[in-house]
Homo-oligomer: 645 residues x 2
Amino acid sequence: MIKKYRIGNPIPTDSVIEEMEITAESIPYFIRDDDAKSLNIHMLKNDKVYGLGETVRGINKRGHIYTGFNTDDGLHTEDKRSLYASQNFFIISSDVRKLGVYVDTPGRVTFDIGFSKKDELLIVFEDFDADIYLIEGDTLTGVVKEFRHIIGRSYIPPRWAFGYGQSRWGYRTADEIREVADEYDKAGIPLDMIYLDIDYMEDFKDFTVSDEKFPNFKEFVNEMKDRGIHLVPIIDAGIKIEEGYDVYEEGVENGYFCKKENGDDLVAAVWPGRVHFPDFLNDEAREWFGDKYKVLLDLGIDGFWNDMNEPAIFYTEDHLKEVFDRIDDYKDMELNIYSYFDFKELVASIGNNESDYRRFYHEYKGQKIRHDKVHNLYGFNMTRAAGEAFERLCPDRRILMFSRSSYIGMHRYGGVWCGDNMSWWSHLLLNVRQMPALNMCGFLYSGADIGGFAADVTEDLLLRWTAFGIFTPLFRNHSAFNTRRQEMYQFESKDVFKNLVELRYALLPYIYSEFMKAALEYDMLFKPLAFEYDDDRSLEIEDQLLYGESIMIAPVYEQNVTGRHVYLPEKMKMIRFRAYDDYDEEILEKGDHYLRADLNEVLVFIRKGHVLPLAKPGMRTTNVCSEDLIYLCFEAEPGSYNIRR
Amino acid sequence: MIKKYRIGNPIPTDSVIEEMEITAESIPYFIRDDDAKSLNIHMLKNDKVYGLGETVRGINKRGHIYTGFNTDDGLHTEDKRSLYASQNFFIISSDVRKLGVYVDTPGRVTFDIGFSKKDELLIVFEDFDADIYLIEGDTLTGVVKEFRHIIGRSYIPPRWAFGYGQSRWGYRTADEIREVADEYDKAGIPLDMIYLDIDYMEDFKDFTVSDEKFPNFKEFVNEMKDRGIHLVPIIDAGIKIEEGYDVYEEGVENGYFCKKENGDDLVAAVWPGRVHFPDFLNDEAREWFGDKYKVLLDLGIDGFWNDMNEPAIFYTEDHLKEVFDRIDDYKDMELNIYSYFDFKELVASIGNNESDYRRFYHEYKGQKIRHDKVHNLYGFNMTRAAGEAFERLCPDRRILMFSRSSYIGMHRYGGVWCGDNMSWWSHLLLNVRQMPALNMCGFLYSGADIGGFAADVTEDLLLRWTAFGIFTPLFRNHSAFNTRRQEMYQFESKDVFKNLVELRYALLPYIYSEFMKAALEYDMLFKPLAFEYDDDRSLEIEDQLLYGESIMIAPVYEQNVTGRHVYLPEKMKMIRFRAYDDYDEEILEKGDHYLRADLNEVLVFIRKGHVLPLAKPGMRTTNVCSEDLIYLCFEAEPGSYNIRR
């Protein structure tokens, strides 16, 4: 049962699509404090808290403060409170209750989940204006499904987007891209996508392609498409200020950019230097910006990723000026314990400075609204601009689209990747733990940068991360220009990488089917064990996941080990894959097992009464046929599995 | 068997005290490359690498690059290559060989342990001058003992230093300190030490005490000592430049400070603003600085911690001037993708800038040597200054001393703490993994900041960290001024903290005995399982440790769990402590177990044929008597345990 409550006078977010009446009574279970602008709920000792989408730490969110305020911060350490997304849906769960809570507010909101007081979940609002949806259900999955119904169906990408993709900030020319494709082909490692990071553009201008680096881009796109490889360019939020650049000029002329209080277009800076930010919250501006994707669609592009849309800000012109003025004060000072850190912070904080989010305004639903009040909707509406445009421009095709920043509602228009993570073992585990939380909030097409974006990967980390990544719908290896090269063919164990990616392609009929079921039935693809088993052990497992209806996975996320502990909540059939056509099968009893899982092995556990179909892989998703499948079964008939095509 | 080899013409470090002949042959096992200034050794697939002291990541060091170059960096993430210490001793170990390697070189050296190539351990030197000691033995412990013999006996602190200590950057007055003592007494939580961070000084000047904050310090020290509480002040490396300040004036007058090439005293800055750095490598200066500790000894102080001795540098005067000159260039520039990051880095990198380590010189053993060439000896010799002074000033007493920066050799003069860690679960695990590596290198009196220095702790993290901390010889809760208060009495579960610290005090006879055995027999207190068991599983266990001769420990280091997996390499008796006098006993078979370990429980495993003595705890270590012990035994007689007093 789902009920909607209202606090104050919230700015609509369009995250919920179902019209619902506002319940007149006060919000049950919670203590409301208007002075503190807070809601407070007591947690039972054994309550677990699930959800909040893309955040740090565990599957059970107890023991930390999370802040819904989209933030461009590449250092996803345990103490961080905000990442790129605000997905303010969570479930408080114990054997006595399952209570789903969606806090729909577009500005800053903080969730203190047993941090300050062990048994208290405290929600503190910057503005006490929000719609609160409470969902009471008998099962966790039931609560999720009810929530997902009111926020609408999740984005479904084209089938080829379930292939493997290679990316790197640093690919500069068509020849470099060709080389990546050639090397993958040479190594026999399947590949469907190569991503174009910011360097494909002319001076980092959206919807341009550098003629110098890509002399005939349209031909090149076709050449790659003939090879079965999709090029997927990045689009950034900021529009370069440059006379003669059409997007800039149209935006200025039509008033489509975010404005300061005095009516001037805000001048900020990102990659190209000085930029304006399109006002994606303005319907007209959003339509205009969305239409711009046509430039690239017409060149044969059929997939995009939207970036820097928190929005990331290197600096605003106004703030930078203030900073330079203040720097002079420090010049003749003896910098000591106080002034030294002030000075360093002054410069360090010119990037993504929160004060800058109070310097500009949107035209949103007929109102002029200061950005910080609707901050979390910016990336959502950038991606909505694209999604709505694709519906207008090519209603019969699915276009690949995913975004860095997001808010619930954006899940209808695109997926997400988990932003600029690091080549850390702990970020592989974080990836494992983020997936079910993203799914709860509607984000099904998602994944992290396999191998890690920043810092230098090791071969074993990339192998283990790939062995998990073969299950994430978005399966992309991405890294930063100043890190060790991270393409699979750069490493000694090319054959193992080949086997892993081939296994992904062999699993494609299953992955695609289960993704489609999750999307169409408002379900999750990745689930914590607690969503289907209620024994005490299952409730605490945070490094194994149920994946679709048939299997449980147990990724290895530690260096220098050749096995791991796995808890089986019931009898299952283990498949230890070395390749799609080379594996051991073993029936394992309910309980604890220490299982060998060497660098070339992937453990999959088939649940009782279930079937795992396997296809013969190919070098492209188009070569993977959903006919002639092999069915791995555990106390089930092959025919009982329902393939979606 | 131990052999010494020489490359080039190394600067002596005094880390090895045993006179050894240099072997004339070339270094076996290694491929030497004079052009690349490197040594290279092939690793077998199942070789494990142990050692390197205080570094990030696992017990088995394979899979990362570590750089011996002492660094003041508080963000100990997985990708970091240097922390505060350089402890360049490691062991390559498999069933076919145990090869200990000590790389004795005071400048920068890099250990690429299977990072670039999986099966290659590559040592790259900045200066190809080093003494290399190779130790071949039959057992890991045998190799460690041989190494430890040549570097000399480890520092032994006074017995009270095995008590519990409370610290915080931010205690400003005698009354605040009294309050800490009162609150601990009120909560019934034992306490032996309160630490004084930088605020006790007058304007951050070493060997001064602020009269304003501590009106009669000597009386206060005595008052606390009468309560059984030792005050332990911090000493920093930098000496404030201030007319009339005796340490400054004497240093200048006698030429005891580090000098620039032109002979001027280097002007750097740390807490007090502008400082000079004492030249601890100069014998006379070291003696002079050591004698300064007498100022505080005379006030009743009997313990110190040496900090900022990498040395940490906020900036040097010369470099800061260059930075400010360059800032002007950016003022009128349009900061874009290139210049923006350059500008931010320009300011960010004024702290601990490596170029500053090339700006000053030491008088070391009769030679003028540029600092970077002997960088890793600086903290060592600061602590040596103190240790040598204590031998002169109070030869019959043990003085507590530990340091942030270190090099092998310093272990004879003091312990270490693991620097500015974070309130992260992963840093609790890091603490577990660092202990045996520190022990290998001779650092027995060591520990990390319990609960984490930076970031906000949660009660459950502090509980779990304390449950491990009760085993570390240095058992100190420390945190930064801008974090959540971290004293145990600030939290709801005071009774659990009381039980945990009481358990520490009950274990004191065992901890002290095992520490003394380790020190006197050149052994380790903490050992990886691989040091005593050679089954495949034991070789990979990185979250359980052998602790002294009798027990194995298995700390819990994850949030929101009530148990953990424990592997028993042989049959053991588990003690599940809730308090020193409230516990379950259970005999467990060799193999894997999932064991309950709730927030109020500590798991200890008594090895077959061994005894764990327990005393009745008291509020101070002096109240803990090594008579009338209770003996927990597993197939052993109480009398078989040898107590050291």
